[in-house]
């Protein structure tokens, strides 16, 4: 008896659907769980605010979020050191290493400059500061006067140093001290590269035992990351719930700063969808859908933790496992990017600087705007990983271009939530460059990508 083709298709379709459903019931992918966690967190936060449950949330829920961040930070330094050494040593050819290094820095600089320019363009055309009411400006300035003065003092110290200070800062004088300080990642990176280069140069048989231990440690650390990520949905739930309750009162702030906040938020999101796709399409063969699918968990963790360093384990994992970037490239490009490449932050700085200028009714010359581009670029490279470090850099950017630094008072209030979006953009940029460098070195394994068809 002939099976009619229609019946067969129908049958096949049913089997397919049933299998898919079975599969989904058994294994909800991690990124989905993270989204659930975030949504539930926001819902909880809103309910808590309405029921006056802020203190309860702060006491009983927020700690889990803090623990999650601590876990990620805990593993960050060992991860950077070990995976960087493993990655660099896997590139046995020194010329290839320097080629990767140069490409990485070039792409990072390029994307940073482009972000700043886009920011300048947007803020000059849309002029969010033009319609800012005078009384509001005075009000903010009075509120934040103290903080701004402190930051100005700190910024003055920073300006005293020579421009080469950044390079000086990169070299630790005690590696244990550097490793024990989560803000000194650049020093750890420096040492790791030095260590790894030494390993490459020495005859292999002499370093084999260290190499074996590092390989082993690498596996252990990645496993620890796995374990920590299982906790992620709960962690982001707690983080977002706490954030909503903490910032409940600031809804009015958002309204007052309306146009500015909107511009920054939309602009940052826009960067994700309009800046990187051209780069990806131009320089790699990765399908956009694949890229964003893979990066999504990273963005979510970055968003919830406001820390590229904390998100690093996830970034590494997604880039190597789901995008196929080789460990050698990823282990070098990504940790460096955490410290050096902050597209979102520099975009934000350029917009904020011009916004403040507009509120104060200042017209900026071309020279001044170029200065902004320059200082914002340098600032994003040198921004220390401390909370509030970005603000010190803003002071420098502002004063270098002749804009009154007191204007910072205007934007200090909503810095935190914007920081979350900025971080998400930063990690997206890091990942994009990792893919680009990987592809250009032929170290991108397309076969691991889920939607790839050659």
């Amino acid at each position: 008896m002939k099976i009619k083709s229609n019946d067969f298709n129908f049958y096949a379709l049913n089997v397919f659907i049933i299998n898919k459903l079975k599969f989904m019931k058994r294994k909800i992918p991690l990124w989905l769980k993270i989204i659930f966690g975030m949504i539930l967190g926001i819902i909880w936060g809103l309910i808590a605010v309405n029921l006056g449950l802020e203190k309860f949330t702060s006491d009983w829920i927020k700690p889990w979020g803090t623990i999650f961040i601590k876990l990620l930070k805990l593993i960050a330094v060992p991860l950077i050191f070990i995976s960087l050494v493993k990655g660099v040593t896997s590139v046995t050819d020194i010329t290839k290493l320097s080629r990767i290094g140069i490409k990485t820095i070039a792409f990072y600089l390029a994307s940073t400059v482009i972000s700043i320019v886009i920011g300048l363009f947007l803020v000059n055309t849309l002029k969010p500061g033009g319609t800012f009411p005078e009384e509001k400006r005075k009000e903010f300035q009075a509120q934040y006067e103290q903080t701004v003065k402190e930051k100005e003092l700190q910024a003055a110290e920073v300006k005293e140093r020579s421009p080469l200070y950044i390079i000086e800062e990169m070299v630790p004088d005690n590696i244990i001290l550097a490793m024990s300080d989560n803000t000194k990642m650049l020093q750890v990176i420096f040492f790791s590269i030095l260590f790894a280069i030494a390993m490459i140069i020495i005859e292999p048989s002499k370093v084999i035992s260290v190499k074996n231990i590092f390989d082993s440690l690498n596996d252990i650390i990645l496993k620890i990351v796995d374990l920590i990520m299982k906790f992620a949905p709960i962690g982001v739930f707690a983080l977002l719930a706490a954030l909503v309750t903490d910032f409940a009162g600031d809804a009015d702030l958002f309204l007052a700063l309306g146009k500015y906040a909107l511009l920054v938020c939309l602009g940052l999101v826009g960067l994700i969808f309009f800046l990187y796709p051209p780069f990806i399409l131009l320089f790699t063969k990765i399908k956009l859908k694949t890229f964003f699918r893979a990066i999504f968990p990273v963005q979510m963790v970055a968003f919830s933790t406001s820390s590229s360093a904390a998100a690093l384990p996830v970034t590494l994992r997604q880039c190597t496992k789901e995008l196929g970037v080789s460990e050698g490239v990823a282990n070098f490009v990504l940790p460096v990017g955490v410290t050096i490449n902050m597209n979102g932050t520099s975009f934000y700085q350029s917009i904020s600087a011009i916004f403040i200028a507009q509120v104060f009714g200042l017209d900026l010359t071309l020279m001044q705007q170029l200065t902004i581009v320059l200082t914002a670029t340098l600032a994003s490279i040198g921004t220390p990983g401390v909370p509030g470090g970005g603000i010190i850099m803003m002071v420098i950017v502002l004063s270098a271009s002749g804009i009154p630094a007191e204007g910072l008072a205007l934007i200090l209030g909503i810095d935190r939530p914007l920081d979350m979006i900025r971080t998400a953009v930063n990690v997206t940029g890091d990942s994009a460059v990792a893919c680009i460098v990987g592809h250009s070195e032929n170290e991108l394994d397309y076969s691991v990508q889920k939607n790839y068809s050659s």
């Binding site: 702060s58 006491d59 009983w60 700690p63 889990w64 803090t66 623990i67 961040i69 601590k70 876990l71 930070k73 805990l74 330094v77 060992p78 244990i176 490793m179 024990s180 300080d181 989560n182 035992s209 074996n212 231990i213 390989d215 082993s216 440690l217 596996d219 252990i220 650390i221 496993k223 620890i224 374990l227």
Partner: protein
């Protein structure tokens, strides 16, 4: 020890305090520093070794989980019991209040600093768990007061090792090697112990101005610990046996006796192990397969008496110095004592290092350890007896739950029935 005592008393009588403090006490401090120095490496290395060695028994994973859970549970119970007993018996509070005030003055500066610190950190209930997670492991390793964080990381690290299996071999070997080295270092340090103890005790006596009241307190402490340990054997363990197995208590204690005697004289659970196993398998009918796993693991991991002892010792020292411990601190003691008893190697001197750790984690003045060092040895013998009894108890419970307990044992054929 005795010499130190005598010296201290003589010194106070003839006014040689300053001499003692300048020329003798430093050696005691050196001894303490040596022990503290080895504490962090010891805890990390032996914990990781201990937990990751469970991987060899992965095919017995159900038994493995039960073992670990029961061991930890009994240890927690023992530690809490220690704290309770310390409160009830108040061994350190035989000091008349005026004397306590004098000592308090000596330590007042440090004490008030600590108290200020505690008050400044606004506390919320879960902060305690939050504090257990370090945000930078190198920083935690650099700070002797952050033991709980180091322990947390060690557990996380070794669980990951176990989950990876073969790939972590290089690190396993390395840690195994380190373990031997650390134990050897402890050996060497302990050779210096007589001098160190002499100096410490002399220093303490001089510090306490030759006060003989301290001996009264020590005596009470000794009895508190001894009675507590006996209670554990006769009340806690018999309760566990009665509830979870069908073994008659008389048979249990009869079979246990030889092992307990050996434990008492050797002060070493490891040395007693052969006897323990024999008694378990031949006299009480536990299966060989289960015993071969549970008992050796218990030698390393399960030390109810040690944990109990650490809790009581910490409380005693706090009471002598007139320090009030908050609930949070007491919970820290329970946790640190439990977790560190897992890491305590079965060697003499190991438990002293652990007491330092427990004390450090709640900020007690470490000089206080001199007080308990004197009576440590005899108590160690008792402690080992209890530790071994605990291992046997759990072994029997697990055998029963696996259906592998052949009790009563048929003696007529000389094998299990």
């Amino acid at each position: 020890m005795v010499l130190g005592l005598i010296w201290g008393l003589i010194a106070t009588k003839i006014g040689a305090e300053k001499f003692t403090l300048h020329w003798i006490k430093p050696f005691g401090t050196i001894f303490l520093n040596l022990l503290k120095m080895i504490a962090v490496p010891l805890i990390f290395v032996s914990l990781v070794k201990g937990i990751s060695s469970l991987t060899d028994m992965s095919k017995l994973s159900r038994i493995g989980t039960k073992t670990v859970v029961y061991y930890i549970a009994t240890t927690l119970i023992a530690t809490t019991f220690g704290i309770a007993l310390g409160h009830i018996a108040q061994p350190g509070n035989t000091f008349p209040d005026e004397k306590k005030a004098i000592y308090q003055q000596k330590w007042e500066q440090t004490l008030s600093e600590k108290q200020q610190q505690v008050e400044e950190t606004e506390s919320y209930p879960l902060k305690f768990i939050e504090d257990m997670v370090p945000s930078n492991i190198v920083q935690a390793t650099g700070d002797n007061s952050k033991m709980l964080q180091i322990i947390f990381f060690a557990i996380l690290f070794s669980v990951a090792m176990v989950m990876i299996g073969k790939k972590s071999d290089a690190v396993s070997e390395f840690i195994g090697s380190l373990n031997y080295i650390v134990l050897k270092i402890i050996d060497i340090i302990m050779k210096y112990a007589p001098i160190g103890v002499f100096a410490l005790l002399a220093g303490v006596i001089v510090d306490f101005s030759g006060d003989t009241d301290i001996f009264l307190a020590l005596g009470r402490y000794f009895f508190t610990v001894a009675i507590g340990l006996l209670l554990i054997i006769f009340i806690f363990y018999s309760a566990y046996i009665k509830i979870f197995t069908n073994i008659k208590l008389i048979d249990f204690y009869k079979a246990l006796l030889p092992a307990q005697l050996v434990a008492f004289s050797t002060s070493s659970s490891a040395a007693t192990l052969p006897v323990t196993m024999k008694q378990n398998v031949e006299e009480l009918g536990a299966s060989e397969k289960v015993s071969n796993f549970v008992l050796p693991v218990g030698v390393t991991i399960n030390m109810d008496a040690t944990a109990f002892y650490q809790a009581v010792a910490a409380l005693f020292i706090a009471q002598v110095y007139g320090i009030d411990l908050s609930i949070g601190q007491q919970i820290t003691i329970v946790l640190t004592a439990t977790l560190s008893s897992i890491g305590t190697p079965a060697v003499p001197g190991g438990s002293i290092v652990m007491i330092l750790i427990v004390m450090g984690s709640v900020g007690l003045p470490v000089e206080g350890i001199a007080l308990v060092l004197g009576v440590d040895r005899p108590l160690d013998m008792l402690r080992t007896v209890v530790n071994v009894s605990g291992d046997t108890t759990i072994n029997l419970i697990i055998s029963k739950s696996e259906g592998e307990l052949n009790y009563p044992v048929d003696k007529s054929t000389g094998t299990e029935s």
